[in-house]
Point group: C2
Chain length 467, copies 2
């Protein structure tokens, strides 16, 4: 299959106009039921065909006409999702080959990952002779929030489905995939595509990076990978995509013991992490060391413009957290900005005497929205400031929803990157939600914001280096 | 004042049977109003006397008889909380001296921190001549969850008040104090005492450590400090307390720029962090680098027994997160445990073939409570396992509230320390709440659990070293 055809098929896979679900059933405990239910829940508006070998003439499954086989549908299908036991899958796949379906997702497990390489080889063999592309087996499949496609066999009550956004997320591991997916909504950013690719007998990391590079709806990529099979092509694909958009990588098997675990998990050769790390660094891939870093970096990348340099202004309504934030900047390899003489003069005029205008600028506990807005305006036009960390403590007497609104207004100007640090409980959380739903990245701890700024800066430097 | 008297007064300050609030008013925007309201909200059952210079004969403030002065109360007072402007405070303090009150909290700011050292010196002078101890000025004062004391001037709707527990928290900074306090409830652990000591003209770090060491209700201490004034005594107090209970320290001014910021914040001489770090290490104080570490360590210390060593078992229902967790252990300086031959044999008998019983033990996505309980039982009695990290992904088909219950049951045995990693959204959060309210420490990311285990192990090694 040439690359052009393969790309066309990948586009169809991600936004199919017709879907057959093999294994669909009215029994709510079955995977095929959950997948069909999810399609209904997300409001998929293409043609949908439940397939069940036990279906009789005139049967309906959850309101949809049921079919006994792919063949009996008698229509060209964009996507077939197979959710039947591993043993039964090869014959279904053969049907797909004959019916010339465009793409297949095999969610079923029970192949190489439990020692049944023989069964997996059968799938490989059929796929090689076919005109479809195949994702899986042993995967969760795909989500496309805009096209309202959802092949996950995890019920919506167990996983919060994120709002529509610019972040796409690919994961070799279904467990890492589903947990990070579930965290995205709570972290306040939006999702474009989710891809869980499992044993990767056909579609692999290289295909996925290529697709996400081409996909204009994707502005930021998150990737969990244990090992890349096609090293050289992976590097090419990485180079291509990072020239356009950031890729945040969390690599399983960064330590020797982790690599061993990865091998027994997906039979991946995690390889020397040093080698991967060198590739990531050379080709502008942002490395996240923890699942929390993934979240922290993604929301910064999704919403904020690039900083010019490493000088970060800290504007706070609580002195002690400003001290902790200053430490965090230097730990992350950044610098505390100093206001220009002009800015200091301007601030001295506007601010009451209680405000300490030296960095970290402490606006005191009674700081209201006007004080926040005025400080941001000065920092925004100061040539000595590259980015702004705002510590907005909603426990203080002065802080309320107007402060949140003033930070939203500033972030919308997109003049300089901003990160807000607002640690706290339910009252704070309500204000975080306000800000995050309007595209302001909010963090619980200053070190998180500092590391996210650093990641943004490093990616910006990479982009500059390849211009 | 001799140390014995001072200790007695500190005990009275923390659990007063009579409190006067100077500056109490019906005006809901005033600090004195919020403090009185908070006393009412938390259900304080001692005698309460609102004092307002404008009170007339027969006036009541929020239902309590109002007094014009300390003197006019005509009773021996355990605690006077002063919430009037800085200029008016010395004369009130003089009244307290004459009335022989036992303890005073000055919440008002406007002293050395804004350059009014002259006013602060007046407070020092009166305090020296008095028989009371004084906390502040420029502080939030104290909370004692069991004694239902709450001098905070931050309304309960802005800060979630934590449940009763064993963690006590002292903070030089009101801002760090209120934000961490507000996070505690969300992090699921319980509070004993909160102490915000501000400018520390009388009560300082040494007094507080001494009190918390003696306080049997306190099992874990969190401390935010920018600098200790009495170095030698601080070391003595640290040595004393860490021989009994863990102290988690977050030190502002760990970098040079941070130290400068700390100096302009509380006029603290943050000193060389290397020097502090050496003291902390030598005397068993646990250092937290971030506000998140503080939370992560505190919940582990509050609930879990000491591990014997650094060999951590990983039991997961999702392979990929097990790989990430393995990496996290080694990054934290811990080791992945290996099951003994006996354990492996036992597990092979109990577990279905899909389960990978080699560490990290992958119980697969359909693992239910029985599988979790069986794995924990084996790990618990295996001499090769010192502690257990359980990755419970509630997105999986098998995990539900019965899994949470089985983890709660295991944690209650207190045989080996356990940490649960459950990243996710609202469904997961509901199960986290279940577990945390029953004393199981739960984390979002494996690295958090790994660092918390490491902190627990290091403190245990310190305790062993001083036996």
């Amino acid at each position: 299959m040439d690359i052009k055809t393969r790309r066309k098929l990948f586009d169809i896979l991600m936004a199919p106009r017709s879907v057959a679900i093999v294994g669909a059933t009215s029994n709510p405990n079955k995977v095929g039921h959950i997948i069909l239910q999810n399609y209904i829940d997300v409001g998929y508006d293409g043609a949908m065909f439940p397939v069940n070998i036990n279906a009789k003439q005139g049967d309906r499954i959850m309101g949809y006409k049921a079919y006994r086989s792919i063949k009996s549908i008698g229509k060209q299908l964009d996507l077939v999702v197979i959710a039947v036991p591993a043993e039964a899958t090869p014959s279904i796949l053969e049907e797909c080959r004959i019916a010339k379906v465009k793409s297949v997702v095999v969610v079923s497990g029970g192949y190489a990952e439990i020692g049944r390489k023989d069964l997996q080889d059968k799938l490989v063999e059929i796929t090689r002779k076919s005109s479809f592309i195949l994702m899986g087996p042993n995967c969760l499949g795909i989500m496309n929030t805009r096209a309202r496609v959802d092949t996950l066999f995890l019920p919506t009550f167990k996983i919060d489905r994120p709002k529509i956004g610019g972040v796409s997320f690919a994961s070799q591991s279904g467990a890492v995939g589903s947990s990070i997916l579930d965290m995205i909504d709570a972290e306040g950013f939006g999702l474009s595509k989710f891809i869980s690719y499992g044993n990767a007998i056909d579609i692999d990391e290289v295909d996925i990076l290529d697709y996400l590079a081409r996909d204009d709806e994707t502005t930021v990529v998150i990737f969990y990978m244990e090992g890349a099979k096609r090293g050289k092509e992976f590097i090419e694909a990485a180079k291509e995509i990072t020239a356009k958009k950031p890729v945040i990588m969390i690599k399983g098997g960064a330590t020797e013991a982790g690599a061993t675990a990865a091998h027994s998990h997906t039979a991946s050769l995690a390889g020397s992490y040093q080698a991967y790390e060198a590739v990531f660094r050379q080709f502008g891939i942002t490395q996240a060391k923890t699942m929390q870093d993934v979240m922290d970096f993604a929301k910064m990348f999704e919403t904020q413009p690039f900083p010019k340099g490493r000088r970060i202004a800290i504007i706070t309504n609580g002195g002690g957290v400003g001290v902790i934030a200053t430490d965090a900047l230097y730990e992350a390899g950044l610098e505390l900005a100093s206001f220009s003489k002009e800015s200091e003069k301007a601030l001295r005029k506007i601010m009451p005497p209680i405000v300490n205008i030296k960095m970290p600028m402490d606006m005191a506990g009674d700081a209201d929205d006007k004080r926040f807005a005025a400080a941001l305006e000065v920092a925004s036009s100061d040539p000595n400031v590259d980015a702004i960390m705002v510590i907005a403590l909603f426990q203080t007497p002065g802080a309320d929803s107007r402060v949140a609104a003033s930070l939203i207004n500033y972030s919308a100007t997109r003049v300089k990157p901003i990160a807000v640090v607002s640690p706290g409980g339910s009252y704070t959380q309500a204000h975080r939600n306000m800000m995050e739903s309007s595209g302001v990245p909010v963090y619980s701890s200053p070190d998180q914001a500092a590391r996210a700024f650093k990641a943004l800066l490093e990616y910006k430097e990479y982009r500059d280096s390849i211009r």
